[in-house]
Structure formats: C-alpha cells, structure tokens
C-alpha cells in the first residue's frame, strides 16, 4: 500500500468511523453487526483504494460498503424481511450541515453511550469503542482493566441497551439539561485519562486525550447553543497546550510556574481562549467554562509573575459557588495566597482544616507548608511538609516535597 493510501485510510478512520458505526446502528439496531460491518468496510478500503484510488467522498464510500456488507449478513442470517428491506433501501445521506433539525448520527450515538442507566465506566468504554473506534485491547490498556473484564463490560452494556429499551436518539429538549452533563463528563474523563497519565510516553493514553478533543469538537459543533460543550472543548485545548512542558526529560512533573512557556502550543491556546470568549458571551457560565477561564489565565500569562492571581481567585470563588467542594476551596486558598499574600491564603486553609473535610488529603498540609514557608514560619512549615510526605500518593510528589523540605531545613 502506498503511503498516500495509508494516510487516507487512517484519516478516514479518524474522521468517519463514528459516523459509519452510528449510521449502521440506526438502520440495523444491532451494535455488534454495525461495528463488524464498519470494520469490514475499512478493511476493504485498504485493498480497494490501493487499486482504484481514494474515492472522492470517502465517508459515502465507507458507509455504502458497510451497508452492503450488512445486507449480505442479514440475508444470510435470514432475519426479518422488513429490517432487510430497510437496510437495503438505505442510501448515504451527506452531512446535514447547518440543518439543526437533523441530529448528527454521532451525537445520537454519544447520548446513547452516555445514557445514565449505564454505569459510568461502561459509558466511557462504550464511547471509546463505538465513537473513537478503539479496540477492546486498547481500551483495556488505557483504562487499566484486564481485557476479559473489559470485553465483558462492553458486551453487557450493549446487551442492556438492547434489552432494557435504551432509546437510540438525542434526548428530547426537556431531558437535555439533565443528560448533557453526562456526555460532557465522559469526554472530560477520557481527556484526563490521557492527560494525567504517569507514563508520559504511553501512546494509547495520549491518544485518549486526542480522541476526547476530537469528540468534544463534534459535540461543540453540533450543540452550538450549549456553552458548556464549547467551554469543555476550550478547557481541554488550554490544558493540552501545556502537555509537552509538564514533564522534564527525566519524566519528572514540572510545576506550572517552572514550565518552559516556549514549549506551550500557542495555536491551541489561541483557539481555546477564543472559544471560551464565545461561550462566556452567552452569559450562562458553568463549571467547564469557569475552569477554562482559570486555565486561560495561566496560559495567557507572559510568565509566572505576570499571572493574574486576583482574577484566578475570583474564578475559584465562582467555581466554589457552582460546585461547593473542599478541593475547590483549597485551590481558591492557593490563589488567594498568591493574590493577597500568604497570610490571607493561610486563613482560608485553616477554615478548611477546621472543617475536617480534607483529612488525609496530602495537598492540604502541602499547601499549608508552602504558605508557612513564605511567611518564614519554618518550624511549622517543616512539620506540615512532613505531614504531607506521609500521605503523598506518588513518588514524583514525594520527591517534590522532599526538595522543598530540604530547602527550608538547610540553615540559612
């Protein structure tokens, strides 16, 4: 196969896999058949495109080929004549474009995979399988689950969709506000699975972030009136822009203030910031938009000292209002500590400590230690660093805390 054809098939897979599967699910109602026929169509593309050239409309070619395959299969299995007629009569319909009344097939599939009657881990796995085209092996590896367990989970989810009568559709308007957050949550989870990975070189996990961004793009385009969908895409882009600067050559985590900003992806930052502006103009801020706004404050600062901490502290205040959580409160305390000085931050940390909600969470004593260090209260800071060290979950974090401890332990 020539490199051109190879690239064309790869590109077609990324762009059209979800669409082909979704269309086939709609007409056959059979998830396994849909996936198998889509796989077949891509396998045929590899052979036929090498011989006949890449078709002018790859999506149409793939959908028609997959449809023909489904007709063959259904004919052989001698299923209901009505379904066979329906599939045989199906023709490829081009992308609906701007017509808001025709939901994109992938949107329908996204909402079905993320139906709240399915367990969250099933929602994630099914989205990766049917929309992103990942193999069971890849999903199992990416989500750190055994392959037989993953295979079972996918089978069970598909069976439940069929037998419990989970509808294959974009939910009606009155259900959208309650259903959309699940879709957004699954996409953000996918992104984070690929972003917070401890092994930075793992390509499968890195691909997860890329797939999450791609699906978020689809969602944002299909739901332009949902500012949170656009906000989520902006948030992912703004985080992803810093990906390469987050680890040094030794694979150690580099904190935000120490990152080499020349390694940040300026195109992604610009796109994320512009998307966010558009979303915020709609005047319906949500958690993703606020988090994206915080990420944008960091991403657009010329250097660490230039960071608008007052703005970040205000945004964390807004986030705490939307999702009252002690972790958000702790982040706000850090931002206030930067904006108004360590004493102001420490006062907030002490309130969280008194509530007991974050007992055992290493970032609580780590934050207190850092604020005490900046107040030159070194004896208390040392105790706090030691407390943080006892509960820090990863080697990378323990190394970071030990470095800080050594800095203030040294007689000055």
């Amino acid at each position: 196969m020539t490199p051109d054809v190879d690239a064309a098939v790869t590109q077609a897979f990324r762009d059209h896999w979800g669409q082909v599967v979704a269309t086939l699910i709609r007409v056959t109602g059979d998830w396994d058949l849909a996936e198998e026929c889509a796989q077949d169509a891509f396998a045929q593309a590899v052979r036929r495109w090498a011989r006949d050239g890449v078709p002018r409309r790859p999506a149409a070619w793939l959908t028609t080929t997959a449809r023909n395959r489904a007709v063959d299969r259904l004919r052989r299995e001698a299923v209901g004549a009505a379904k066979l007629r329906e599939v045989a009569a199906m023709t490829y319909e081009p992308e609906p474009g701007d017509d808001g009344d025709v939901p994109d097939e992938r949107l329908r599939l996204m909402f079905t995979c993320c139906h709240p009657a399915l367990a969250m881990d099933s929602q994630v796995a099914l989205t990766l399988r049917t929309l992103a085209g990942l193999t069971t092996t890849e999903i199992a590896r990416a989500l750190l689950v055994g392959e037989p367990a993953m295979s079972k989970r996918l089978t069970r989810a598909k069976r439940k969709i069929r037998h419990a009568g989970i509808p294959y559709r974009v939910p009606p308007a009155h259900l959208l506000p309650e259903r959309t957050p699940a879709v957004l949550a699954v996409l953000y989870l996918l992104f984070n699975e690929g972003y917070s990975a401890t092994s930075g070189a793992d390509l499968v996990r890195r691909n997860l972030s890329a797939e999450a961004i791609r699906l978020a793009r689809v969602l944002a385009r299909l739901m332009p009136d949902e500012p949170e969908a656009v906000g989520l895409l902006a948030l992912m882009l703004l985080h992803d822009a810093r990906r390469d600067a987050r680890l040094d050559e030794a694979g150690e985590l580099v904190t935000l203030d120490a990152q080499d900003r020349l390694r940040w992806d300026t195109a992604e930052i610009a796109e994320g910031a512009e998307l966010l502006d558009g979303a915020l103009r709609r005047g319906r801020p949500g958690t993703y938009q606020v988090q994206a706004a915080i990420a944008a404050c960091h991403a657009t600062a010329a250097d660490a000292d230039d960071t608008d901490w007052a703005q970040i502290a205000a945004l964390y205040g807004e986030l705490a209002r939307l999702v009252p959580s002690p972790v958000v409160a702790l982040n706000r305390a850090v931002a206030v500590g930067m904006a108004d000085g360590p004493a102001a931050g420490l006062a907030l940390v002490e309130v969280i400590e008194a509530s007991g909600e974050l007992a055992g969470y290493h970032l609580l004593p780590a934050t207190r230690a850092d604020l005490l260090r900046r107040l030159d209260r070194h004896v208390e800071a040392r105790d706090a660093y030691r407390e943080a060290l006892r509960s820090a979950p990863t080697d990378t974090e323990r190394r970071f805390l030990r470095r800080r401890l050594a800095e203030i332990a040294a007689p000055s």
């Binding site: 009657a117 037998h163 419990a164 009568g165 989970i166 509808p167 939910p171």
Partner: protein, 107 residues
C-alpha cells in the same frame, strides 16, 4: 416495551402504606400504560416455597432478608426506558423508597 416496576422501601415505607398514589394511577390509566399491579402486605407475612428432592420446603418470611423489600409492583407498557424512567420517577414511592425498573423478557 413492557416493564415491571418493583416498588421497594425499608420499614419506614410502612408509614406511607395508606398514602395512596396521589393521582399517579389515574394519570397512568389515562395514558393507557398500566397493565396491572398492586401493593403487597409486609414481608413478615410472606411465605417462601422451594421444592427439593420432591419435598415442599416452606419458610416463614421473604425470599431474601434485605433492608429494602418489594412493597408493590406495577406492570407498564411504554415506548422505551426513558419513558419508563419518567413514569417511575412520578410515582410517589420514588420519593421515599426506590423503584427498580425491569424490562420483561420478550421472545
């Protein structure tokens, strides 16, 4: 599709035994979704039957002693799971107990 709604609750559900269904039954009959159903007397009045080696074995009480017990059931016919969820969520018992939606086996 047909679904069985299993209406479950713990002992505190007994306090609602005479509440009625607050118009739920009337609405569902009007919509034509109800195929049957009823409330059950408490688990303490249940008898459980098993036949092993041709011998009928009886025990006093429910099949499984759990915190939550089935207190009533309702068979409904509706379009899909989303409609079944909407119907179940409207049932007053959803406010103090839980409602398990089980699709019926179809040939």
């Amino acid at each position: 599709m047909q679904y069985m709604l299993l209406i479950c609750g713990d002992e505190s559900a007994a306090a609602h035994a005479n509440d009625g269904c607050g118009g739920w039954t009337e609405e569902m009959l009007r919509r034509g979704v109800v195929r049957g159903g009823g409330g059950l007397r408490p688990p303490a009045e249940a008898t459980t039957v098993r036949v092993r080696d041709d011998e009928v074995l009886l025990s006093d009480g429910p099949f499984a002693e759990t915190k939550e017990q089935v207190g009533g059931f309702c068979l409904i016919e509706c379009a899909d799971l989303d409609e079944a969820i909407e119907i179940a969520a409207k049932h007053p018992a959803a406010g103090y107990g839980t409602i398990e939606i089980r699709p019926l086996w179809t040939p």
